[in-house]
Assembly symmetry: C2
Homo-oligomer: 218 residues x 2
């Protein structure tokens, strides 16, 4: 499958490399073509990898991943172009983190709105699925690094899109993908970051996740 | 032990009853003595139970529990009286939930502050331990209702107070009580409510919790 990855940071690198390893053709998009980090990634990721602008990646991909910093995501996606993303699934991995007050970060939007919803409102013809934002990038692409059962929470408005994303996540090794609801649930999965950053500080490893344990309602 | 419980709602009832069953003397505090719900609780909970004003409960208790609605907690605790709470442990169970915009509720304070911190700042001579706010009241007092391993996250500034609260929680049946850090971590455990309310909507049962799974750092 042809996949466009927006963002050249650690998350874009990890997901882009995993997708290329799985046999997908992956184009990493940045503000300008020839971005140094994107070129370095292409050289490391092999013949399935290429790079270009956000718009190049959006046009190339049948499936798209937003791996930009949350505070820059809307601008990056505007540069990618609504027309180039129309009708496609966008996996939104970003969290609207604000590091300007120091550590741990706060959220630039939370409680009664979310980045996932902002993106879905700005790009109504794109099927936004919020996923992978609740775990660190090593865990995203290798959930077996965390021992035992644990869950990936996803949400979005389009059931078919969530089903396709779930299939892709299974190829990463995710056994339990929980569809928690529509895109407004991103208020919950992004809000969870307020706890995630504290658990990270406490556990002193990014290799953790949560398992939701519950009584089964029949 | 003599315990003061602030609040006459479902949480105060559940915790007050459990504490009385465990042999503690429990006084439930309300805005005025003779509150109908408090009197009904006393009649149901037996000879270990009594009721009075917030100040009565604060004076009575060697240990205190804030089970008032989050939006009303600071006013209730002011009525209880800083002097009556000085030097004592206050388990803050409340979440600053705002139901005025409908369901699911939002938080009146979150992200860069928390109710737990507001209470600690307002009552510096009281040892605030945030605990039990991440699970529904049936689970608070009977964690075995949720199958398998799952964790209770607590935080607060005073290590000795957290240790005493952990011992009390073990008598409720809590096997894993995780001390995540100082009272600022309440931003995380209260912020988690943004996810909790969505999981509640999805799972259709309040009988759930999370288990934090992680690599052990040596």
């Amino acid at each position: 499958m042809k996949i466009g990855v927006f963002g050249t940071g650690a998350v874009g690198n990890a997901l882009g490399s995993k997708l290329a390893q799985l046999g997908h053709e992956v184009k990493m998009g940045a503000r300008a073509a020839g971005n140094g980090k994107a070129v370095a990634w292409v050289n490391a990721a092999g013949p399935k990898a290429s790079q270009g602008t956000f718009a190049d990646a959006a046009t190339f991909g049948e499936l798209l991943l937003n791996c930009t910093a949350g505070a820059a995501s809307l601008a990056a996606l505007q540069a990618a172009g609504a027309k180039n993303m129309a009708g496609k699934i966008l996996i939104d991995v970003a969290n609207p983190l604000d590091f300007s007050r120091g550590m741990p970060p706060t959220l630039t939007v939370c409680n009664n709105d979310s980045l996932g919803e902002q993106i879905q409102r700005a790009f109504p013809e794109t099927k936004v699925v919020k996923a992978l934002n609740t775990v660190s990038n090593p865990v995203m692409v290798n959930p077996g690094l965390v021992p035992g059962e644990h869950d990936l929470l996803i949400c979005g408005n389009d059931a078919g899109a969530k089903s396709q994303v779930t299939e892709l996540l299974r190829t990463f090794g995710w056994k339990t993908v929980v569809d928690v609801g529509d895109i407004t649930v991103a208020r919950g999965t992004e809000g969870y970051l307020l706890l995630w950053v504290r658990l990270f500080g406490h556990l002193q490893t990014p290799l953790f996740n949560v398992h939701v344990v519950h009584v089964v309602v029949r």
